[in-house]
């Protein structure tokens, strides 16, 4: 431990301890809470525009407002919920604890990362209230619709959207640099790379993917901003045919596809942590999971054009991209099988975190297999930009962003606040969320097969769609209940934070290092001791052991230099 054992945040007043704190745990919780607030906002927005879809004749929203709401729902959920919660929240909170470090490698950078993110959140929220309203060109912001105010009436909203996005990416880049450095340099003694808990691997891969992919989009965002404000034409087309809107799509999706894996795989990491701890069984095929995730990450850089099969790509190019896209099913298939085999033969404790992880796992399988429909370019001719796509990415995202996150919260809540969440409420929440999510999202596949294009504020205009209006009713009803169900979670979260059952150091009897620390860990995590790692991360039910788990390491007292 060359890093100075400075107990970050343990000095100073309330503000420097809990507001502008450099402690990774505080920053992680700040990310988590901000992200969850944004998630709630995104959910409420979704309920509002789904009401418009179910009852289009009541004009719940004007077409302009509908587009704005749909766009902001997507934007908030991907960039202001998934990224901060899964990368910022769990990454910050878990990585140093899991690798036995006292803090991140760059604590100040870490703090700056959060506050830059906070600033970006304010910018994106302000965009609702500027003249013209929030951006309404879809979360993909396809040019030239997005870069010219005359097409949508949104002027400031789009500028703010781009600025907020660039800030958010800057923030996440700071976080990513920090994670990678921390994981490579601050691991506890004996913690080799292949002994890292799966979540740490996933966070690291996500951070690397993000770092490699985000450059083009930040550049693209800058160019779009120039298009918008000083009238250049990178993405706009002039009468002379200068400028190319497809360039934006390339830049966006070159980032966009790795990005969806960035928000997907940390969720899978959480699921891996939870099912091993609850299944009392080692993660089966640890190395296979690591390698296939890396393979999926690498592949994710060569599939971006499958979002653009019908956007006038050279047809030959589409063949290549289609094949790489179908290939990407293989690493995720290996990963799913590994999870399944981990459950097989275990001794499963059905806790609420396990229910969420299981639900996330099942939802992810559906999301994964439906990707095949869209990856096959000929089927994509028909299914592209229909509700099939919507249902598909809701299945993949929801598995990680919502189910994974909530599983993680139930799992690490004792570590975060020193108290346990209420299990009964948790199980009701888990089962309810799973059922109503499926009631909401599964019918959308059928809507997609019927040819319902995305982002229509009313389906009644079309004869071939009007007869499927009942699906909108069903989905909207389920979505309303789904969002309403989260009240249980909010109640449980805050009630347990203050009056929940006190948790000991290791309530789940899990093996990884973070459970050696106090609940909640002190500033500096380990006090006057340092963890030393002796074995792999998931040594459950080792034959010959008296206990059914063997902690990954133990704490050795050290002399703290002051």
């Amino acid at each position: 431990m060359e890093h100075t054992i400075d107990e970050h945040g343990s000095h100073g007043g309330f503000v420097s301890r809990y507001v502008f704190s450099q402690d990774h745990k505080v920053i992680g919780l700040q990310y988590l809470i901000t992200g969850l607030i944004m998630a709630l906002l995104g959910g409420i927005i979704a309920v509002i525009f789904r009401s418009q879809l179910a009852w289009p004749n009541r004009e719940v929203l004007s077409p302009e407002a509908y587009n704005s709401f749909v766009t902001m729902h997507g934007t908030l959920m991907v960039f202001w919920v998934a990224m901060p919660v899964l990368i910022g929240g769990f990454g910050n909170f878990c990585i140093p604890l899991m690798i036995g470090a006292r803090d991140m490698a760059f604590p100040t950078l870490n703090m700056l990362s959060y506050w830059t993110f906070f600033l970006s959140s304010i910018v994106i929220l302000v965009s609702f209230f500027v003249p013209g309203g929030a951006v309404s060109a879809g979360w993909t912001a396809y040019a030239p619709l997005s870069v010219d105010a005359r097409f949508t009436g949104v002027n400031w909203g789009m500028s703010l959207w781009l600025v907020a996005l660039i800030l958010e990416f800057a923030s996440m880049l700071m976080g990513g640099v920090n994670y990678i450095t921390t994981i490579f340099n601050l691991r506890a003694k004996g913690l080799t790379l292949m002994r890292l808990p799966m979540l740490v691997w996933m966070e690291m891969i996500a951070a690397v993917l993000f770092m490699f992919s985000v450059g083009p989009l930040i550049a693209g965002g800058g160019l779009a901003l120039l298009d918008k404000s000083i009238g250049t034409h990178f993405f706009r087309v002039t009468a002379e045919g200068q400028g190319d809107p497809v360039l934006w799509q390339h830049l966006f999706w070159f980032f966009g596809h790795p990005e969806v894996y960035v928000v997907l795989i940390p969720g899978l990491g959480i699921i891996a942590e939870v099912i091993t701890a609850c299944g009392r069984k080692a993660l089966h095929g640890y190395k296979a999971i690591v390698y296939s995730t890396i393979a999926a990450g690498v592949l994710s850089f060569v599939v971006w054009a499958h979002h653009m099969f019908v956007a006038g790509l050279n047809p030959l190019l589409a063949v290549g991209f289609s094949i790489t896209t179908i290939l990407i099913s293989i690493p995720f298939f290996i990963l799913s099988v590994a999870f399944g085999l981990t459950l097989w033969g275990g001794s499963i404790r059905i806790t609420s975190s396990f229910l969420f992880a299981l639900g996330g796992y099942l939802i992810f399988i559906i999301g994964g297999v439906t990707g095949l429909f869209l990856g096959a370019q000929t089927a994509d001719i028909y299914l592209h930009d229909t509700y099939f796509v919507v249902a598909h990415f809701h299945y993949t995202f929801f598995s990680s962003i919502i189910m994974g996150t909530i599983a993680g919260i139930y799992h690490w809540f004792p570590k975060m606040f020193g108290r346990k969440m209420n299990e009964t409420l948790g199980k009701v929440h888990a089962v309810g969320t799973f059922i109503f999510y499926n009631l909401f999202a599964f019918p959308l596949f059928f809507l997609g097969l019927a040819g319902h294009p995305r982002r229509y504020s009313s389906a009644l205009e079309y004869d071939f769609l009007a007869k499927y209006q009942w699906i909108h009713h069903l989905a909207t009803g389920a979505a309303i209940i789904l969002v309403a169900l989260q009240i249980i979670f909010i109640y449980n979260f805050f009630k347990s934070m203050f009056t929940g059952e006190k948790a000991e150091k290791n309530p789940w009897r899990a093996t990884t290092l973070e459970w050696l620390a106090e609940s909640p860990p002190v500033h500096g995590n380990w006090g006057n001791a340092s963890p030393v790692v002796e074995n792999g991360p998931y040594e459950y039910s080792v034959e010959g052991d008296s206990d059914d788990f063997r902690p990954q390491g133990k704490l050795i007292p050290t002399h703290v230099k002051h």
Binding site: F20, L112, W115, R150, N155, S229, V237, T238, A239
Partner: protein, 397 residues
């Protein structure tokens, strides 16, 4: 405190960057003009209705009593001046609704005058005369608000992208085509979309090209608009909206008329509708073609070019229309051989030759006999056939 220093920097720098970037749209003239969606919200219709009634009450309640009071006396003139002062402010609000052309200019002049001098009183006299003559016109059309609302939605969906959010023919399309450049062929919209407000006309007059009434009659018949909407204008980006129902077209026409509300409201009640004769059967006869060629060479060639000998029509032919900067917008004479005709049926073409085309240099030819007209049409038909068979020299652009 030193720990907060980097934090301060991180917050201040992005904020600075944001304001720097956001200040671009405020300072730059080259950026796209901001778009006001309010124009197309439904409460705008209410506003419109209110304005319509206000203008009406202005005319009947204020102007007419003043007219009665005036009678040349000093007191009357004073009272009038007071009322005019009050109305001056209000009038400024209604300018875009009042009939374009003379009336609007009158108001402009009136607004520019200083009250009290002799010219002011003279102008008032003129103005009153003008308004009373306006009142003497019979009301030929009143908007049905429900229909107008329906039309407004349809306009937003079908027309706005080319004819503009204000109906002034400024399209919501790539920059260049906002004003038609000199080399019109290269623009996305080859011709300037119709201006329903008359704001770009040099006399601020609402003008439609293809009408079936005498040339000086303005505006067009509703049927003319319906025809154009239904069949489109080949050779321009204007498509025929064939799938619209009669009801929908009526709504659209009603909404388009609100762009020049008073012009349509007090239009001529009984326009003289011109009905062209049936075409003769021997249009392809050689005699007719030869006679038609002679007539063409004397009457049409100057503008439309000697197409048969490979001379294309002349560009930059007219200055009836001005863009926002006061620059004239050219109109191209049609190339009969190679281009689709906007109104290409025999009788329509007959109408265009006979009545001329409003707002263009194409004159009416009332002295041309029916037979001569058909001869010219016969020659045009001949030209088009030759072009289709590839027998005509044509230097495209």
């Amino acid at each position: 405190m030193s720990k907060l220093f980097p934090l301060g920097i991180t917050i201040i720098i992005p904020l600075g960057v944001i304001f720097l970037i956001l200040s671009f749209p405020l300072t730059s003239n080259t950026g796209p003009k901001s778009f006001d969606p309010k124009v197309f919200q439904t409460d705008e219709i209410e506003l419109l209705t209110a304005k319509i009634s206000e203008v009406d009450s202005l005319l009947t309640d204020s102007i007419l009593p003043i007219l009665a009071d005036l009678k040349g006396s000093k007191e009357g003139a004073d009272k009038l001046e007071q009322n005019m002062m009050k109305m001056k402010a209000e009038l400024a609000n209604f300018k875009h609704i009042l009939p374009k052309g003379q009336n609007n200019n009158k108001i402009d002049e009136l607004l520019a005058l200083v009250p009290g001098d002799q010219a002011w009183l003279d102008e008032i006299q003129d103005f009153i005369l003008l308004q009373s003559s306006l009142n003497n016109l019979k009301i030929r059309w009143e908007p049905d608000i429900q229909r107008v609302q329906k039309g407004q939605r349809m306009y937003k969906q079908l027309c706005m992208t080319c004819h503009g959010k204000n109906g002034d023919g400024v399209p919501v399309t790539p920059e260049k085509s906002v004003t038609v450049p000199a080399d019109a062929e290269s623009s996305v919209l080859q011709v300037r979309p119709r201006d329903f407000t008359g704001i770009t006309h040099k006399d601020k007059k609402v003008v439609f090209k293809f009408i079936s009434t005498e040339r000086e009659y303005s505006p067009a018949l509703e049927d003319d608009l319906r025809n154009t909407i239904k069949s489109g204008l080949p050779g321009s980006p204007m498509p025929g909206f064939t799938s619209l129902s009669q009801e929908e077209i009526d709504a659209l026409v009603d909404y388009i008329k609100t762009f020049a509300y008073l012009t349509w409201k007090y239009g001529n009640v009984n326009p003289k509708v011109y009905v062209s004769p049936k075409p003769p059967h021997d249009l392809e006869a050689k005699v007719r073609i030869d006679k038609g060629r002679q007539a063409y060479l004397t009457l049409c060639m100057a503008c439309h070019g000697d197409i048969e000998n490979g001379k294309d029509p002349e560009k930059d032919k007219t200055v009836d229309w001005v863009d926002s900067s006061g620059k004239p917008i050219p109109i191209m004479p049609r190339n009969f051989a190679f281009e689709p005709l906007k109104k290409g049926k025999f009788q329509e073409l007959f109408n265009s030759i006979r009545l001329g085309i409003q707002g263009t240099p194409m004159p009416s030819n009332p002295s041309l006999s029916d037979e001569d007209t058909w001869d010219i049409i016969s020659y045009i038909l001949h030209l088009r056939k030759m072009a289709n068979e590839g027998k005509l020299p044509h230097k495209k652009n």
